[in-house]
Symmetry: C2
Subunit: 197 residues, 2 copies
Amino acid sequence: MWASPFSRRVELALKLKAIPYQYIEEDLPNKTPSLLRYNPIHKKVPVLVHNDKPVAESMVIIEYMDETWENNPILPRDPYERAMARFYAKFIDDKLLPTLAKLGQTAGKEKEETIEEIHEQLKILEDELKGKQFFGGQRIGYLDIVAMILAWLHLAGEITGQKILSAEKFPLIYEWIERVMKMEVVNECLIPEEKLR
Amino acid sequence: MWASPFSRRVELALKLKAIPYQYIEEDLPNKTPSLLRYNPIHKKVPVLVHNDKPVAESMVIIEYMDETWENNPILPRDPYERAMARFYAKFIDDKLLPTLAKLGQTAGKEKEETIEEIHEQLKILEDELKGKQFFGGQRIGYLDIVAMILAWLHLAGEITGQKILSAEKFPLIYEWIERVMKMEVVNECLIPEEKLR
């Protein structure tokens, strides 16, 4: 399922940690018996299968990988920084993603209000980037992986012309997007632009 | 805010880890300036303040505590068991809690369907208890803290007479509730029964 940002998170984490893996694509309208066997509760991608044992839920998978393979750590070492990374990751998943999902379902005044709400949420992430190269500090990390949805939002804006994420309003997020999109490993885990068009 | 199950989770984790703390109750309709300062994004309880630095979101707080104070670990040590504890904790928060919240808002056939859905979700947790004393195995842990909502559901059923969580249908959950409610530390972190009536 190439369009799943959650699968792309896991793929990016695997690449950042240089863990060899086999990628199996699922066609969600025609779920394979192995997807149903490995994720019987949610029946969704992504699922990581390691030693024939499945782990589901993208952020649970990434924490599992980071604890299982010690090289190239993804979460910060300091407990307080780890807590902040988890806090803002949860903010993106529980607050920003539902507001972005509302965008396509609204029109007129309601749409304007949704955009206003997205701007308020982006402001919180903009502030989090102050004085930093990446959300993870000096190097790409846990929160950068989750925040990759901002790069998708930027790409979608380039195509549709509806630029919610402007360089004027959110200069630090904009620089961050330029910085991560120059990284080969990130580009390999974005939706191919020709599929978006 | 004594009625917040999320605050009670943090309190139970503090007690299980024997961390001394000061409990400050918030009256949510009249939020204090310190709540707004320590949790400006969500303006909600619970917030743990340690070394004058705030951590919000109950599960983020508990992971922070477990990483900061090593005694009486709450999360399992094995990475796969940790992943499973986090997976089912997320299942309770993202699936079971929203279904329980629907209960009070529905009636008639819709209510029956909601109860059916809750039963399916409880069955998943019942299966998770097979061969175990606690969700955490031999001792109370991370998933037990999150699952404490089942004890609340049981207490609410005793009072309202609407017993969704029957001993016949869910014998393992029922035994687990009896087991945890015998623990003094758990009883100190449940809603006082007289406040429920």
